[in-house]
């Protein structure tokens, strides 16, 4: 009995110590994909170097927005603005979430297919080829049209709209979830079956398999997704990858804010790290440390600028 109460008292003490120490901790969400985890760890380790406490918290894509808006999370170093609903734009409008700027990751979205499809559909990668070889992509539930797997229904209907606008003989099938889409890609590649799917990069999947992108017509400037036709199809408007902070972030941690502003990441570095983690079994922590060790020249100025802001 006495033993128990000692343990409980000790745990209580610990818990309260932990809560009080948290007041100044910068909380960073960890989403459920490797690329974001790497950026989060690198950003967190740099924040620790300028003397802040950092805590990583697992968070879903929509919940994290509510959390940043409410102030339970403070800093999301890698946020993808595609496929988010009004909850994001409302929070930006109200000023609860502040967009600090782009992270430097160049995203691209579009339709991918495995290279062996170029044998059964020779005109690829041009989208014009799809008109003639829809049957090469057909399946039982879509015949005679080709089967195009789109984003899950809750990520919007951009592929469906594009197919309708450019009058492509393909039937869009909603992907259900990222896991289901990847499972489908894995199984198609394993049995060399036809597949065409809406996808995005950077994504760890490209470290594991080869895929080619369907090419659309060149445009100047941004693509007007709502206004396309055959012969004048630009495909998809590309997503932005930005850095988000909470409303009070700049006032609470002015030096950290300077670091957040400076933080940059590029596709090549991230893909290399993703490969280390997902293929070679390295932990996210080790991969992030590895990048920091090799790229001191890159991040040293960020840290210096932040240190300068401390005085």
């Amino acid at each position: 009995m006495s033993n128990n109460s000692i343990t409980i008292a000790a745990a209580l003490g610990l818990a309260f110590a932990a809560t009080s120490a948290q007041a100044d901790t910068i909380r960073i969400p960890l989403n459920d994909w490797t690329g974001q985890n790497l950026t989060a760890q690198i950003a967190g380790k740099l924040l620790e170097r300028i003397g802040h406490d950092v805590e990583y918290v697992t968070a879903g894509a929509v919940p994290q927005l509510a959390a940043i808006a409410q102030g339970s999370l403070h800093f999301q170093p890698e946020f993808w603005d595609n496929n988010v609903g009004d909850i994001y734009y409302d929070a930006l409008d109200r000023g609860d979430i502040v967009l600090v700027g782009p992270l430097g990751i160049e995203s691209s979205e579009g339709w991918i297919y495995p290279p062996y499809m170029e044998e059964s559909c020779p005109g690829l990668p041009s989208y014009q080829a799809l008109y003639d070889c829809a049957q090469a992509f057909a399946a039982a539930d879509t015949f005679p049209n080709g089967r195009l797997i789109t984003y899950p229904a809750d990520w919007g209907t951009r592929s469906r709209d594009l197919v309708a606008q450019i009058d492509l003989p393909f039937q869009p099938v909603a992907g259900g979830s990222e896991g289901a889409m990847i499972a489908e890609l894995r199984s198609a590649v394993a049995s060399q079956q036809p597949i065409l799917m809406m996808f995005w990069q950077p994504h760890w999947l490209f470290a594991e398999f080869d895929f080619n992108w369907v090419e659309f017509d060149e445009v100047d400037g941004t693509c007007d997704e709502g206004n396309q036709s055959r012969g004048n199809a630009c495909g998809f408007n590309q997503a932005n990858v930005g850095k988000l902070v909470n409303r009070d972030f700049q006032a609470t941690w002015p030096d950290a804010y300077v670091l957040v502003e400076a933080l940059q990441m590029d596709n090549a570095s991230q893909n290399a790290m993703i490969l280390q983690v997902d293929q070679d079994g390295m932990s996210v922590d080790e991969a992030a440390e590895g990048w920091l060790a090799d790229n001191e020249a890159v991040w040293a100025p960020w840290v210096e600028a932040a240190m300068a802001a401390q005085d």
């Binding site: 033993n3 343990t7 409980i8 745990a11 209580l12 610990l14 818990a15 309260f16 932990a18 809560t19 969400p29 459920d32 994909w33 918290v57 697992t58 968070a59 879903g60 929509v62 919940p63 994290q64 927005l65 509510a66 959390a67 409410q70 339970s72 999370l73 496929n83 609903g85 009004d86 909850i87 994001y88 399946a139 039982a140 539930d141 015949f143 005679p144 797997i149 899950p152 229904a153 809750d154 990520w155 099938v173 909603a174 992907g175 259900g176 979830s177 990222e178 896991g179 289901a180 889409m181 990847i182 499972a183 489908e184 894995r186 199984s187 394993a190 049995s191 079956q193 760890w204």
Partner: protein, 686 residues
């Protein structure tokens, strides 16, 4: 009045509805509103719900937050406490507890289960999940006990409590994750609250049921010996209802476990649920299976332990010495202290070394990939047959399914006439041979297969549902059904609701037929039963998401995969209840049948199945409930029904859309449940 009632419950009403359906279908081009419920008639509930929610957050948000902050402190405490224990201590404690309660078999199983969690190297995450359950179960039990007692004490309260509990159990948790997040803020507490909402109802039900079933004479005896109301309650009624209440605790524990993954969708948990979600997102079958097994094993051990407490004989221990009475406590304490001390000098007892991990995920993934590559043609064939001959006809009707590509010929007008003639003839024969009920069914199915469930006119579909409800359960049931149909129509989710009914309907039918057969086999042959039991246990405790991945890899995204996943989960109660029902048939009845010279086959069909049918119907009821629960999860592999709408709401952060779809599913589930229960009760009476 009586004449009217007679007219309503009989053949005329059905004939009128069938005729009206045909009329609406013949003129469907002119009466497009009758097939697709017009958008202008939809009551715009979503904006109201959203602004109502915003109002609540603006005015009361602070209170909710204060509540969740308090809970967060407690949660952190429990988590730190559990994580402070070395794994070897937990292993020893669980094993001793299992041995003390249920003997060496369960002790061995528990030992292996806990060791598994250690060996695959996800100990901390597993303990974080355990913390969630350890915290939510006692809270759920206390709240559930209080509400259950209230329902026992006051008939009026019970009338409000019952439907609320039904709603909590049938509205998919995904639908209320978002409102909880908005109200209580972000963090593991959201998961805790979601899991409470789901885990409280079984406790409430069992408490009320237990207290109700206490013998009236016992209560009277207590009162005569001068007990006050409080004494009567705590010393007489609660002890007498103890068994039922303990069963409630058992079910509450299981419900809490089933929420582990859903709770991590919000995040902030860093537990095994999050790991499973990450693996599922990346479609890694091996990882998700191995991690899902952690939750399944934990749930199985807890289930056996708590179920054991519920049925244990309460022994009189007055005459034993202190050491004898508390021998297991003493052993546990000594082991825990000893191992804790030992862990100081042998650190591997508290931190399992990474190098000792065994995590065969890659091998499992390779196995699935091999199957996919090797059997892709035959897999494709199965899928085609199911699609062209079962699923598409029910969904879109033969008129849109039959084409040279699918059936090998065109559905010409001549063939259509032939189809109509065949259905009419079948209906006529059925009427003469089996009466009007079967004839009505035949006519209905004939029309349904022709236009598909999405092509049926809603006025008569709703009308038939209400009529059926009236025949099954009288006016009250009909009113309930009318209200439910009204909700589905007015909120504009009729189309999605029908797609849900289609997917669930096929799944339930197949589960019932296949599961029933397996159940009969299990009841007749012991080895079958022994093989089926662990499979059933795993299917029921394994997180539902994990079931999806191998199906997607083999059968691709789409409704067929969703259907298989639903069947995999919903088949379990059909198997279990059929076996239970047949085993429960009294030996005298079987003996009597045998004396009359029945063959084993006749014995089964004429004696055992009819006598077991109330229990089997209960199994069917459960199968329907399970199928509806799985509908939301199955939406992850691409469906277009209410389940998908729930995600759209969650993905967009749109509270209204999600909750309407969720309540829509609850409405379907509750109506089906009431109907089935009434039918099963009527059967039991006959």
């Amino acid at each position: 009045m009586n004449g009217l009632r007679h007219w309503f419950s009989g053949v005329h009403a059905w004939a009128a509805l069938i005729a009206l359906t045909l009329a609406l279908l013949i003129f469907r081009d002119a009466l497009a509103w009758s097939v697709r419920y017009p958008n202008e008639w939809v009551v715009p509930l979503t904006p109201w719900l959203n602004s109502g929610m915003n109002w609540v957050i603006d005015h009361f948000g602070a209170y909710f937050r204060a509540f969740s902050d308090t809970l967060a402190v407690v949660m952190r405490l429990v988590r730190n406490l559990i994580n402070a224990l070395p794994w070897s201590v937990v292993l020893a404690l669980v094993t001793v507890a299992a041995f003390a309660l249920a003997g060496w078999r369960l002790a061995l199983f528990s030992f292996a289960a806990v060791l598994y969690m250690v060996v695959i190297g996800f100990w901390t995450q597993a303990m974080n999940s355990l913390a969630l359950v350890v915290l939510s179960v006692p809270i759920a039990v206390i709240i559930g006990f209080a509400i259950g007692t209230l329902g026992f004490a006051s008939e009026r309260a019970d009338r409000a409590i019952r439907p609320t509990m039904d709603l909590l159990q049938t509205v998919p948790a995904f639908a209320y994750l978002l409102p909880i997040l908005l109200l209580f803020g972000f963090g593991p507490v959201v998961g805790l609250i979601a899991s409470l909402l789901y885990a409280v109802p079984p406790m409430v039900r069992n408490t009320t049921l237990g207290l109700r079933s206490v013998n009236a004479e016992t209560v009277e005896a207590g009162r005569m010996s001068g007990a006050t109301t409080a004494q009567l309650f705590w010393r007489v009624q609660v002890p007498c209802a103890k068994r039922q209440i303990l069963l409630g605790i058992n079910q509450t524990t299981m419900a809490a476990f089933s929420m582990v993954i859903i709770a991590s969708i919000i995040g902030g948990t860093a537990d095994i649920g999050w790991e499973v979600l990450t693996a599922i997102r990346r479609a890694l079958f091996g990882e998700s299976l191995l991690l899902g097994l952690v939750i399944a094993l934990m749930a199985m051990v807890m289930d056996r332990l708590t179920a054991r407490i519920a049925v244990r004989e309460i022994t009189d221990r007055q005459d034993q010495s202190f050491a004898q009475r508390y021998r297991y406590w003493i052993i546990a304490l000594i082991l825990a202290l000893g191992l804790s001390l030992l862990a100081q000098v042998m650190p591997f007892l508290s931190d399992y070394p990474r190098e000792w991990r065994y995590y065969p995920a890659a091998q499992l993934n390779a196995a699935v990939t091999y199957i996919v590559a090797e059997f892709s043609t035959s897999i494709d064939l199965i899928k085609r047959v199911a699609f062209f001959y079962v699923m598409l006809p029910v969904k879109m009707g033969l008129e849109r399914t039959i084409s040279p590509f699918s059936w090998g010929f065109t559905f010409t007008d001549t063939l259509k006439v032939a189809y109509a003639v065949a259905i009419v003839a079948l209906t006529g024969v059925a009427w003469l041979r089996r009466g009007w009920r079967i004839a009505t069914l035949s006519a209905f199915i004939g029309i349904l297969l022709f236009v598909g469930i999405t092509g049926m006119p809603w006025p008569t579909m709703a009308g038939m549902a209400v009529l059926l409800a009236y025949q099954v359960g009288g006016r009250r049931m009909a009113l309930g059904m009318a209200a439910g149909m009204g909700f589905l129509l007015l909120t504009g989710i009729w189309q999605e609701a029908m797609l849900s009914v289609y997917l669930c309907g096929i799944a339930v039918l197949l589960s019932f037929v296949i599961g029933g057969t397996l159940g009969v086999l299990a009841a007749e042959f012991r080895p079958v039963s022994a093989v089926l039991r662990p499979i059933n246990d795993t299917l029921q405790t394994m997180p539902l998401f994990v079931i999806l991945i191998p199906f997607v890899m083999i059968f691709k995204i789409g409704e067929f995969t969703a259907l298989l996943a639903i069947i995999a989960y919903a088949i379990v109660p059909s198997i279990r209840y059929t076996e239970l029902g047949i085993r429960g048939v009294s030996p005298e009845a079987i003996e009597a049948g045998r004396i009359c010279g029945c063959t084993p086959w006749q014995l089964l069909w004429r004696v055992k199945l009819p006598l077991a049918s109330p229990v089997i119907m209960l199994g069917l009821n459960q199968t329907i409930m399970y199928a509806i629960v799985m509908l939301v999860i199955a939406a992850l592999v691409g469906t277009s029904d209410l389940g998908q709408m729930v995600y759209i709401g969650l993905g967009d952060g749109d509270f209204g859309v999600g909750i309407i779809a969720g309540v829509g599913m609850a409405v379907i589930a509750m109506l089906a449940d009431r109907m089935m229960q009434t039918i099963s009760r009527k059967q039991a009476r006959n």
